[in-house]
């Protein structure tokens, strides 16, 4: 791997390569997490996962994560914020009511654990 110390102008290509390598590392770490979560879940159901299925779920989940990042960024920007908050994430799950209420109760549990919240005003 070439280390570019003259990375001033025209470093776009280097930046892209760097981003690619970073992305690959993250994808691998992510895949490992999915493998452990998926296998644990399969075990609970008394099943085993075939390797291609785990790989597929991992790829899907990674793509979903990327999509989630885009969605929450859009929601935050739409609200005139630079920082994504919990509501943005919960909103991204709007397609399934069950999922929304699941996340909402999860977020309320979080709020209960931490008495100090970022925002003082509550938006209804």
């Amino acid at each position: 791997m070439e280390s570019g110390d003259g990375g001033g102008e025209g470093a776009d290509f280097d930046k892209d390569e760097e981003a690619e390598t970073k992305a690959d590392l993250l994808r691998d770490r992510f895949r490992l997490s999915v493998i452990s979560i998926a296998n644990a879940e399969a075990k609970k159901a008394g099943m085993e996962m075939s390797d291609p299925v785990v790989a597929c779920v991992a790829d899907l989940a990674f793509k979903y994560t990327e999509q989630l990042a885009k969605d929450v960024e859009l929601f935050a920007q739409h609200a005139g914020r630079k920082s994504v908050n919990m509501e943005d994430v919960i909103l991204s799950a709007h397609r399934n009511e069950h999922l929304t209420s699941l996340l909402r109760s999860f977020s309320q549990e979080l709020k209960g654990k931490e008495p100090q919240t970022d925002r003082k005003r509550k938006r209804s």
Partner: protein, 99 residues
């Protein structure tokens, strides 16, 4: 105990996506007036607070567990104890509609 995703990992992936988008929009137009209030300032990249990351990790964990659980139901119905690609295929459309 339940496994879940590491917050830093998810945060890193988010940041990667956001910086990719910021980079793209910088290349096209530095000032996109019609886009609205959010981008009228210099394009500093988006951030996420800690609770947003926690809920994101939970959302992703649910995505994975839902995929596995739904596929397991199909496999079980067929009397097989190994989750195979065809099982995943069957549940994929509804999974993607739900998330």
């Amino acid at each position: 105990m339940d496994d879940t995703f590491d917050h830093d990992l998810i945060h890193a992936i988010f940041k990667l996506v956001w910086s990719r988008r910021a980079h793209k929009s910088e290349a096209n137009k530095p000032m996109d007036v019609e886009f609205g209030a959010g981008t009228s300032k210099k394009n500093r990249s988006t951030t996420a607070n800690a609770s947003a990351l926690k809920v994101s990790c939970e959302l992703l964990r649910v995505f994975v567990t839902e995929a596995v659980q739904r596929a397991a139901i199909i496999a079980e119905a067929e009397g097989i104890d190994n989750i195979e690609p065809t099982h995943l295929e069957r549940i994929l459309p509804q999974l993607l509609l739900d998330f």
